[in-house]
Amino acid sequence: MQRFSGLTLLRRGLSGQRGWQPQWRRAEPKPSYDAIIVGGGGHGLGAAYYLAKEHGLRRIAVVEKGWIGGGNTGRNTTIIRSNYLFDESAALYDHSVKLWETLSQELNYNVMFSQRGVMMLAHTVHDVQVSKRHIYANRANGVDNEWLSPDEARRICPLLKVDDIRFPVMGAAFQARGGTARHDAVAWGFARAADALGVDIIENCEVTGFLRDSNGAVAGIETSRGVIRAPRIGVSAAGHTSVLLRMVDVRMPLESYPLQALVSEPVKPIFPCVVMSNTIHAYISQSDKGEMVIGAGTDAYTSYTQRGGLHISRHALEAICELFPMFRRLRMMRAWGGIVDVTPDRSPIIAKTPVPGLYVNCGWGTGGFKATPGAANLLAWTIAHDDPHPINAPFTIERFRDGELIDEAAAAAVAH
């Protein structure tokens, strides 16, 4: 791997940008590996990286049916935060934020992690109470989060209109360690670092079935590029997880919905943080290219189409225009959808499955990007030890049978 530094940039710059190598190999599938990760998004590539880096596995493949980072990794609104209510969630998401804080150095790749702060608006008395409860719970768990009055919120984000609107802003919760990162760079950075440790990244390789041994354990996968054998397989396939698990007769507590996002034409830097409103449902931040990145809600129905209804994104834009009237004249440049796998309690699953040797990282619903390094790190641990790490131990499939839900859906008190 060619390491990046100021010196290498200068040297290549002076020699006409010649001599750069591809950042990862275009690998052909080998007949067998020690472990296979299904899904070449940030979560899957990261899991392969941590398996190689922290657990010493060397013969690892990542198989991706499209191109790496072309699924939800490239389709989200890049918001990173860890101010979740329950102890289990706070530990999980903050594990990820801590990894984000050093990820660029870890990968020798600038993932443009920017801790510009995440502001979550409160518009009703109920919002205020729920927000403050979150803040107290977060602080008890060592996760930063603070209450802002409307004036304090405006001091951080001067564009925000707090009164004379349909749902005036009564205050906000602000996590200063939250922020954004460059989503493509996360996939590319993990891919490059994993490749350097010998991981084969195999694109255009769709899984069509699983091989099982005489004990019922997984023995490999059947793909559009042939059979690949491995005793340990991690599925990190977001909206398609239940389709894959159906191949081994495991039904998952997941439903797949389209989630839409859109970006505006680029404008000069005007927006200093991330602003979210659960109540009137909008998410907004500014990318380093200058586009306003806007997240809408999920569509009502399950779907695999990677698009959604215009009335859903319109609803988000109406909320944005109410909160930030100056954006009414902004033109939207692109809109798209991703397919998110939603669990009944809106918490993820990082766990062993009923099939020996088969592991899943799924159920991230509408909030998986923030968890990319953390989830990858914990899936790798779970695969390597055939047992979950204490942080992801509560995030099982069986919690729905056992009544041990981690009900962030109810905690957020919003219509997801």
Binding site: E255, S256, A300, G309, F400
Partner: protein, 97 residues
């Protein structure tokens, strides 16, 4: 936005409707006789079909009635809508997985 054919009212735009999830899931008649797994299956497990999906909708801002539909989740195209208590149209029977 979907155009949905309510079996009682005809074609109406999607915002008039509320999605009701997978169709033809019957509540166990004796929940106390269910194992934890059977009860969890009823509450939480859905087919999440990639293909023809059998689902419920409610025409909330219209006649208010529930009805069933067959929709292809890879295209969002409706193949049929039909009244609650009826089987899917015979020509499409077996299409859903």
């Amino acid at each position: 936005m979907l155009l949905i054919n309510c079996p009682y009212c005809g074609e109406r735009p999607e915002p008039e409707f509320v999605y009701g999830g997978q169709a033809h899931i019957a509540r166990p008649t004796d929940p106390r006789a269910c194992s934890d797994q059977q009860w969890a299956d009823y509450l939480y497990l859905r087919d999440n079909v990639k293909g023809v999906h059998n689902e419920r909708w409610r025409h909330t801002h219209g006649c208010g009635r529930f009805f069933n539909a067959l929709r292809d989740t890879t295209t969002d195209r409706f193949l049929a809508t039909y009244e609650v208590g009826h089987e899917p149209p015979a020509t499409l029977k077996g299409a859903h997985s």
